[in-house]
Amino acid sequence: MKNRIHVLRAEQRWTQAELAERLNVSRQTINALETEKYDPSLPLAFGIARLFGKPLEEVFLYDEKPAEGGME
């Protein structure tokens, strides 16, 4: 699943560590999300969208090719 987390984070001028702290996840998880190597759970995805004040579909873009752990 593609996402715009990196762009949205840059707009806020937050570091990965700051975003991780706001979402209560590790910095490694933020990096894995931004590089699209990991698809978040639904609660985390909603948490990210709410933090950026965007609807879910503006943050996450469905990709036909699933990432790690995604639907086949």
Binding site: A20, L23, N24, S26, R27, T29, K37, P40
Partner: protein
């Protein structure tokens, strides 16, 4: 995602690593002392107590693992549960295979305590490999 956690996942990981490191150092010291003491004749109750004493730091390790898996974020938990599953399966396979060699082919008897060491080593190595996948 859980916003009620008392500690951040990054801080939890560091605390967990320190706890395991300290527990394993205590384990090695206790094993060394108990082995020394058990070389001398001791009453049965003392022998059993000394033999079981090294298990106490391992209880601390088990508690640390459970605590960490509860406070870890979803990616950390996923990697650790996956690597723990692989380690458990591999340890079971190694134990069974070597058990057959011991019983049927006359291979030397090995202490069952090695199962703990093998599981930990495979778990750690697998977790490192799996975490690299997300870098």
């Amino acid at each position: 995602m859980n916003n009620k956690l008392p500690i951040s996942p990054d801080a939890a990981k560091k605390r967990y690593q320190w706890q395991v490191l300290i527990a394993m150092i205590i384990y090695m010291v206790v094993v060394f002392i108990c082995v020394k003491l058990l070389k001398h004749p001791q009453p049965a109750a003392v022998r059993i107590t000394l033999a079981l004493l090294p298990a106490l730091p391992v209880v601390w390790v088990m508690w640390s693992v459970i605590w960490y898996l509860r406070v870890a974020d979803e990616l950390q938990r996923r990697v650790h549960l996956e690597s723990l599953s692989i380690a458990a399966g591999a340890t079971a396979f190694i134990s069974l295979t070597y058990g057959l060699l011991e019983n049927l082919a006359g291979f030397p008897m090995v202490s069952a305590a090695w199962g703990f060491v093998i599981l930990d080593l495979i778990w750690g190595a697998t977790a490192c490999i799996l975490f690299r996948r997300y870098k």
